[in-house]
């Protein structure tokens, strides 16, 4: 994966502004609080990079806090954000029951709110989701096609993370619908070093179940760990990996010679981050925003990446225009 390709030009259909910049945005006084559940991992980092880029473009100050996986901390961060009275709040992931009391306070304080991938429990807030069921469905479609609908699969999953739980629902349904596909083992760890811990477990599972055809790892840290395991055991021709999510590093792993990771389904996290900030900005400006925004995923496979010589997310969004969604929460006064 030679990263020497020239930086790709933004591939979005450049739209011209259709409205004047609101005064508040022009003066740079807009503050938006971003309250995150997690911040580490490629997905969350790229999401943030997108959100920050959009905030810069819109001349908005983004105040970021992260619960670092501690959900109570996220709720407290949200309460603190409410006391600091920003112009809008974005809640990025989190558990509904945990953040809803604080979201109520925000609504009571008349602070506009965008909830990404979490149920805000109120009609006042705008919800933004990436379609996790669709992500799982797409990648499982690829798995079914490659395996011919039968064979042993090692599944990587840890409960308690909302997107993973949703993807898991699709997998459970898929198993019922496709009795030929057998889950021979389930593994999973989430910690600061998820990839290497998953690799160790995947190796044990692959040793115990030599006939396995595929690993379903619907989270890129899982997929990277699984890829490491397959590579270290030298099973790349026999075992294929079906993942989810996408980052520049993930593209590197997928396009490596002999990489077992053949397909992934993803949204562009940076794009989702941009959409979240745009929606919040629209709320601040008092513009009309759909109450429920969705960013659809795309299926990306190894062959496509290799054929197009893609080595970064920027190039990827050029090749898959569907990954960029400029029409979702378009800001009329900016060129996005």
């Amino acid at each position: 994966a030679a990263p020497s390709a020239p930086p790709p030009s933004p591939s979005t259909a450049a739209a011209t502004p259709t409205a004047a910049v609101p005064a508040k945005f022009a003066s740079g006084d807009v503050r938006i609080s971003l309250v995150r559940q997690l911040s580490s991992g490629d997905y969350f980092e790229q999401w943030l990079a997108g959100a920050q880029a959009e905030a810069k473009a819109l001349n908005v100050k983004l105040e970021i806090s992260s619960g670092d996986g501690n959900n109570d901390k996220q709720a407290l961060n949200l309460e603190q954000a409410v006391t600091a009275k920003p112009d809008a709040i974005i809640v990025d992931h989190g558990f509904a029951q945990t953040v809803q009391p604080a979201i109520k306070k925000a609504v009571a304080a008349k602070i506009p709110l965008v909830a990404f991938d979490v149920d805000p429990g109120t009609a006042e807030a705008v919800t933004l989701t990436q379609d996790d069921h669709q992500i799982a469905k797409q990648v499982l479609g690829a798995l079914k096609a490659d395996t011919g609908g039968s064979g042993g699969v090692v599944y990587v999953y840890v409960a308690g993370f909302a997107p993973l739980d949703r993807r898991n629902e699709t997998w459970e349904q898929f198993k019922k619908d496709n009795p030929g596909i057998k889950q021979v083992a389930q593994i999973g760890v989430v910690n600061g070093s998820t990839a290497s811990a998953v690799a160790d477990q995947a190796k044990a599972a692959l040793q115990a179940h030599p006939g396995v055809k595929a690993i379903l790892a619907p989270y890129d840290e899982f997929a990277k760990g699984a890829a490491l395991a397959v590579k270290e055991l030298g099973l790349a021709d026999k075992v294929k990996i079906y993942g989810a999510d996408m980052s520049t590093a993930d593209i590197g792993v997928m396009t490596e010679p002999n990489s077992p990771w053949v397909a992934t389904s993803a949204t562009d996290p940076a794009n989702v981050g941009r959409v979240a900030v745009r929606a919040a900005a629209l709320l601040v400006a008092g513009e009309q925003v759909d109450r429920a925004l969705t960013v659809p995923p795309s299926l990306i496979n190894q062959k496509g990446l290799r054929d197009a010589g893609i080595s970064s997310v920027e190039q990827l969004t050029g090749a898959f225009p569907g990954l960029t969604t400029p029409d979702v929460a378009r800001v009329p006064w900016a060129a996005s």
């Binding site: 970021i64 992260s66 501690n70 109570d72 709720a75 006391t83 558990f95 029951q97 945990t98 308690g160």
Partner: protein, 341 residues
């Protein structure tokens, strides 16, 4: 030292002043750094020094603080409760299961949570006091055991109202009374803060003004001397772990109420944080041993800093570093001055 000798008696008065100053700085060093932080934040962000924000800070340290108070008591006897975080996690799961899965009342959930805390304490006591396994090793075993147990009772799933159990939605939900423990207020003060204050006072009195507290410290200082003096060492060590277990259980109940669900791994962050608060507390008021006041200050120290830095819009990834730097600074001042004194 040699300077002191040459100085002879003439230098004595000025040396005494210096050493008194050092003693003061030592006793109040960490408190001073905290006060400076508060003043600085207030000047930079007027919103910092407001009553609502003070409550946010207090609320952010309440749960950690309660766990840390328990850890402090277990430390007085020379023990060390690594299992406190796992206990918090187990209690969160147990309370959630009680209400959501078994559809029982909030009161029952509280009782179940406290019993879980005592169970953890019981295992610790069995290991350390009865089987004489060293404290760190024993409580590490308990940590894995209860971290594992919290996962097993729910099959590794989080427990949320409306979750599917054997194909049907779970019958129960968090009761309002229980949820009040996490989100309610008493005269505008959040319930967890009130609980923290009460427990802090109780632990302070226990450790500093009762026979039991002195016996606990005596065991920590020299268990053999305490035994030969007729102090029932085993019982007091058990008491230490029981207090730690109960505190962790209370923290778990409050956390569960705040989360509104039984979150797998909810207790994990509390081990390091509570130990940190208790250890920072060593340096408060020159105690150099586990103490209730110090632990409260230790917890507040971290809470104030994180809150203030967030308000100043310091990037979240810089906060850990600043926390480390301030902590190291405060420690170096405290302990270096201690020697000068």
């Amino acid at each position: 030292m040699s300077a002191a000798v040459q100085g002879g008696s003439r230098a004595a008065p000025s040396r005494r002043v210096a050493s008194r100053a050092a003693a003061v700085a030592y006793r109040y060093g960490l408190l001073g750094v905290m006060a400076a932080m508060i003043v600085l934040f207030s000047l930079l962000r007027p919103a910092f020094a407001t009553y609502p924000n003070a409550l946010v800070v207090l609320q952010s340290v309440a749960v950690v603080g309660i766990v840390a108070l328990g850890v402090t008591v277990s430390m007085t006897t020379g023990g060390f409760d690594l299992s406190a975080g796992a206990c918090v996690g187990a209690v969160v799961m147990v309370t959630a299961l009680t209400m959501v899965r078994f559809n029982l009342t909030g009161g029952t959930a509280i009782v179940a949570g406290l019993l879980t805390g005592l169970l953890v304490a019981g295992v610790n006591v069995l290991l350390t006091v009865v089987a004489k396994v060293p404290d760190l090793v024993a409580t590490l075993g308990t940590l894995f055991l209860f971290q594992g147990l919290a996962l097993i009772v729910t099959g590794g799933q989080s427990v949320a109202p409306g979750m599917t159990v054997d194909g049907a939605p779970a019958p129960g939900r968090y009761t309002e009374g229980f949820a009040w423990l996490g989100g309610g207020t008493i005269v505008s003060v959040p319930v967890p803060v009130v609980a923290f204050a009460l427990l802090a006072a109780a632990v302070y009195v226990l450790l500093n003004h009762t026979r039991w507290g002195r016996a606990l410290y005596a065991i920590g200082g020299n268990a053999e001397a305490a035994r030969l003096a007729g102090i029932r060492v085993a019982r007091y060590r058990a008491l230490g772990y029981a207090v730690s277990g109960v505190c962790a259980a209370i923290a778990g109940i409050l956390l569960s109420a705040r989360l509104g669900r039984g979150d797998v791994g909810a207790g994990d962050p509390y081990l390091l944080q509570s130990v940190a608060a208790a250890l920072i507390g060593f340096a408060v008021l020159g105690a150099n041993r586990p103490n209730a006041l110090g632990t409260v200050v230790g917890a507040l120290f971290i809470g104030v800093m994180i809150n203030g830095l967030t308000m100043l819009n310091a990037p979240y990834y810089a906060q850990t570093f600043v926390q480390g730097a301030l902590l190291v600074g405060a420690l170096v001042t405290s302990y270096t001055l201690r020697r000068i004194r």
